[in-house]
C-alpha cells in the first residue's frame, strides 16, 4: 500500500516536472540570452520571425526588401563585432560606454540590424526594437526546421522529429510482427517441450542485450549492408533503425503473444481437430482468432518499446533532422534528440525547455499507446 503510493506519487511528480519544464518554452522568445534586435528608427521593418532571423544570419536574405523594407542591403552587427567599430578604450574597461556606443552605431547606420543584450540598451535609446514572435505550440509542432543552437534566434520545429520517430517505430513493428508471431505460434503449438525449453531462454536473452550493443551491431553490420544492397549514398537510414528496433521488439512480441496463444482452451482445439481440421487449419481458424486481442496487445507493446528506444537508434539512423520522405534516408527521432542534446544545453535556456517539450510529446504518444493496450486487454477479458 505504502510502496504503491510512493511509486504513483513519484510518477506523478515526474510528469508534473516534465510538463512544467516543457510548457515554460511557450512563454519565452526564440532569442537567446535576453538578446534584442535593434534597427534604425527610419527602418520600416518592425517584426521578424525566427525563420527570417536565421535566413538573415545565414546570409540567405541580404536585402531589407525581402523583409518588406527598403531596397538596401542588410549590415549585420553582433556584440562580437564590436572591436571592428570601437576600441577597448572607447567601450570602457567595464563596458560603461557600451550602451551609448551601440545606440550611436545603429543611429549612424540606417541599414544595420544589431543584436545585443537588453541591458546595454541606452538610456536615451533612439533606435527601434524589432518585435520577435514568441515560441508557440503550432509553430513548434508544425515547424520543419530544427536548429536549437542557431544564433541569435533558435529554430524549433519538431515535425521532422515526430514523423521520424513514428516512421521508424511503425516499420520496426511491421518487420517484427510476422517474425515474432510465427515464432510464438511455433513455440506454443508446434515445437515439442524440449525444444521450447531451449528457445524460450534464448529469446529472453535477446531482451537482456544492452541497447548500445544493438546499436553497435547495427552500425557495423546492418548499415553497410543497406548501403550495398540498395546502392545508396548513405547507409544510416530509417530502414537501418527499423531493422534494429524490430530485432529489439521481438522478445516482447514473442513472449506476450505466446502467452495469449497458450491460453486457448484445449477443448476448442480438440473440437476443431475432431471436426477433421488439420493442425494448420486449427491454428489459422481457431487459435489465432481466439488469441487475437493478446496478439494486438503484443504488437502495441512492441511499438511502445520501439518508440522509446534511444541509443540504438541514435547510432544507426544518421540523425539528420529532415522531413522523412522514404525509408532509405536518414531520420532523427525524439529520444535520440533528447539524449544527444540535453547534456550540453544550458539549464533553463530555450534549447533545454524545447527538449523537455519534446519529452512531453513522447510521453503523450506512449501514454496513448498504453491506454490502447488497456482497452484491448479489457475487451479480451470480456470475451472470455
Amino acid at each position: 500500500m505504502i510502496s504503491s503510493g510512493i511509486s504513483s506519487l513519484a510518477v506523478l511528480l515526474i510528469v508534473i516536472f516534465l510538463f512544467r519544464e516543457g510548457f515554460s518554452l511557450f512563454s519565452t522568445s526564440p532569442l537567446e540570452n535576453k538578446n534584442i534586435i535593434v534597427v534604425n528608427k527610419t527602418n520600416p521593418v518592425s517584426k521578424l520571425n525566427a525563420g527570417q532571423i536565421k535566413a538573415i544570419f545565414d546570409q540567405e536574405i541580404t536585402n531589407w526588401k525581402d523583409l518588406g523594407g527598403n531596397n538596401d542591403s542588410i549590415i549585420l552587427f553582433t556584440i562580437n563585432d564590436i572591436s571592428n567599430y570601437f576600441s577597448d578604450e572607447e567601450v570602457g574597461a567595464e563596458f560603461e560606454f557600451l550602451p551609448d556606443k551601440l545606440n550611436a552605431l545603429v543611429d549612424s547606420n540606417p541599414t544595420m540590424l544589431a543584436v545585443y543584450q537588453d541591458k546595454y540598451l541606452a538610456k536615451k535609446f533612439s533606435g527601434k526594437i524589432v518585435n520577435v514572435a514568441k515560441n508557440n505550440i503550432p509553430d513548434f509542432i508544425m515547424g520543419k526546421q530544427w536548429f536549437p543552437t542557431a544564433e541569435p534566434a533558435v529554430q524549433l520545429g519538431v515535425a521532422p522529429l515526430i514523423l521520424g520517430t513514428l516512421l521508424v517505430s511503425f516499420f520496426a513493428i511491421l518487420f517484427a510482427l510476422p517474425v515474432g508471431l510465427a515464432t510464438a505460434i511455433y513455440m506454443a503449438e508446434v515445437a515439442d517441450e524440449r525444444l521450447r525449453k531451449i528457445l524460450k531462454p534464448v529469446i529472453e536473452l535477446l531482451a537482456g542485450i544492452p541497447s548500445v550493443v544493438y546499436g553497435f551491431f547495427g552500425l557495423i553490420v546492418i548499415v553497410p549492408m543497406i548501403h550495398d544492397v540498395f546502392n545508396l549514398p548513405v547507409g544510416e537510414t530509417a530502414l537501418a533503425g527499423s531493422i534494429v528496433l524490430g530485432i529489439m521488439a521481438l522478445p516482447t512480441i514473442i513472449t506476450v503473444s505466446e502467452d495469449a496463444i497458450r491460453n486457448t482452451p484445449r477443448s476448442m482445439k480438440e473440437a476443431s481437430l475432431a471436426l477433421g481440421a488439420n493442425k494448420w487449419q486449427t491454428i489459422y481458424r481457431v487459435v489465432i482468432p481466439y488469441s487475437m486481442s493478446g496478439i494486438s496487445a503484443a504488437a502495441i507493446l512492441g511499438i511502445g518499446r520501439a518508440l522509446g528506444e534511444t541509443m540504438a537508434v541514435l547510432m544507426v539512423t544518421g540523425n539528420a533532422a529532415v522531413m522523412p520522405k522514404s525509408l532509405l534516408q536518414p531520420v532523427r527521432t525524439i529520444p535520440a534528440t533528447i539524449a544527444a542534446e540535453l547534456g550540453e544545453a544550458p539549464a533553463g535556456g530555450v534549447h533545454y525547455q524545447a527538449l523537455f517539450a519534446l519529452g512531453c510529446i513522447l510521453f503523450l504518444i506512449t501514454m496513448a499507446i498504453n491506454i490502447w493496450v488497456q482497452a484491448i486487454s479489457t475487451r479480451r477479458k470480456m470475451n472470455k
Binding site: F147, P148, P233, G318, N319, A320, V322, R332, E344
Partner: protein, 262 residues
Amino acid sequence: MKKIILGVAMMASALLVNAQKITIKGSDTVLPLAQKDAEVFMKKNAGKSVTVIGGGSGVGISALLDNSTDIAMSSRKIKMDERMKLQDAGRAFKEVIIANDALSVIVNPQNKVSKLTRAQLEGIFTGKIKNWKEVGGDDMQIVVYSRETSSGTYEFFKEHVMNRKNYASSVLNMPATGAIIQSVSQTKGAIGYVGLAYVTKEVKDIAVSYDGKTFTMASIENAKNKSYPVVRPLYFYYPTSKEAAIKPYLDFILSVEGQKNC
C-alpha cells in the same frame, strides 16, 4: 554526475588553503594534455599537487567565476557574455594559449578529391554543394557527417570554417568522433571532421586552403607553424590574483618539455 563534479570541486577548493595545490577545471579536449603535464610536473616537484577536472569549457569558466578553480581550461575563446560576468564579479583574469589543436577534414579513401578550399567546405556543410563533381570529384552525392550540436568541435567548425552559417538540416549528426570515423570509412561519398589525433588509416584526410591557393595537410608541424588553417587554440584562463601560485606549473607547461605532449 554534476553533483559528483561539484563535490570534487568543493573538496578541491577546501584543499586550496594550502598554496602548493593547484586546481584546473574545464574542457575535456584540454584535459588529457593538462593531466599528462601535471603528472610529470608533480614527479619533478615533490610537495606540489595539481588536480585536473573535466566537465567542458563552459563548466571551467563558470568555476572561475565562482572561484572554485585556479585555472580554467577551455577549447574556445572566452565568450563576450562570460567576460562580462567576470567583469561584474570584479575578477581580473589572464589568458594563455597553451597548445593548438588541428581539425582534420576526412573523406572516404576511395574518394579522388584530396583538397578543398574553405569556401567549398562552407558550401558542402551548408548544403549548397551536393555532389562531388562540383568540387572536382566523381559524380557522387556528398554525405556530410558532423558531430552533435553539444560538441565544442561542432561550434568551432561552424565559427571558423562555415563563417557562422548554420549546418544544412540534411547533415548527419553522429554521437561521437569514433562513429564519424566508422561511417566515413564505410560510406563512399562521405565527408566529416575530427581532431587530428583521431585520424586512422580507414579514412583519408585532405588538404585545406583558406586563400584558395596554398593547400596544406593537417599535421603536428603545420599546426604549430600555423600554415594549416583549421586550428583552434586551447586556452588557460586564470585570475590575476593567483598568478604567483600557478606560475611554476604554467611555466612548465609552456616549457619545451611541457610542450612535448601538446
